[in-house]
Symmetry: C3
Subunit: 143 residues, 3 copies
């Protein structure tokens, strides 16, 4: 069995942003040597996310806009209070809630060395609390 894990660093540029990471995931799958198996992709942060949708800018905007409609930044969140362990005010409850809403991971099969996914399925790293340096994981498992 081949099991490979890559930690990928990503510098986000905006407060909220959908970044297409499909080419990077495909590159890692190819380099892994796994012919049949699966790939898991996962963010390491609780104020970012990872999701799959069609890869077009208008949809990226719709996701960010309508996630903010459901979880507005200025709601009366419990998390908007002084956090001892951070030495500052919590202010990103909406980012955490969006992360839970859209999810933090995806998993696809690998067949003959290639990810098996629909032609329009695009893997997005979702920044909800940037700009920040972020890390996501790509694990390839198979033979």
């Amino acid at each position: 069995m081949i099991i490979k894990l890559e930690r990928i660093k990503l510098q986000t540029r905006k407060a909220e942003e959908a970044i297409n990471i499909t080419p990077k995931v495909e590159e890692i799958v190819k380099a892994s040597g796994v012919k049949n198996g699966l790939v898991n992709v996962l963010t390491s942060h609780t104020s970012s996310g990872l999701l799959v949708t069609e890869g077009i800018p208008c949809l990226e905007e719709d996701i960010l806009t309508h996630f903010s409609r459901l979880f507005p930044e200025d709601e009366n969140y419990h998390h908007r209070r002084y956090l001892d362990y951070d030495g500052r005010l919590g202010f990103n409850a909406d980012a955490h809630l969006k992360s839970v809403l859209g999810g933090i991971s995806c998993s696809f099969p690998i067949e003959n060395g290639k990810i098996v996914k629909g032609s329009r399925q695009t893997i997005y790293f979702m920044e909800y609390d940037g700009p920040l340096e972020r890390t996501y994981l790509v694990q390839v498992l198979g033979e």
Copy 2:
């Protein structure tokens, strides 16, 4: 290690529909010969979804009704514009958002040749933009 991947075709009949695919997934797990491992089920489309809930018609209706309440068809979506690559107006932003909301995959353990899941857990293919011919994937991995 046994790794099997099945592509299942499904003709949906309505604009929105929750289709119980649990028996098909169980059949594929049984045919795979895997005694211990896991099964991943995944839609291949960005305007459909895959989720797990109790298998009763009133809940199927509640999910579709309340997803539409959160993402109404007639919201002012960015995706509602002319799409060059499609040669037509984008009109299904709500379907993409519902797909992200409810998720696109599930994963269960297999033990002694059987899926280990709660007695009320039912695997649903979710059509949000039908009727269409759809494909979902069932991958079985183990030994």
Copy 3:
């Protein structure tokens, strides 16, 4: 390949509650002997959930509060009707919808015998319809 599956019982104490199960999952991974692979964690119930967010009480409250804002208990649900097979009125549609919204599982890589996750990522069992005795699954797979 090592494949281990544990069924963990959990008595919830409130109608709605977020319970940090990270230490238990880490303990099972350690005991499995798997050095490299993955761990899947999954609830067995359709009115509970499983999700990953930062492990602080104010966020636990925000998730429960704002899930209830999106799916209020007193909405006009189809599921609020007499259920023959249960011999009682369905009354927990909101719990099922929250389960779908927040998700029912998570999956992390294992490397050198340890779960690879962000320092703030905390695994939560989410009770939306308690108090009840619940079961969740922890599957470890690797070598």
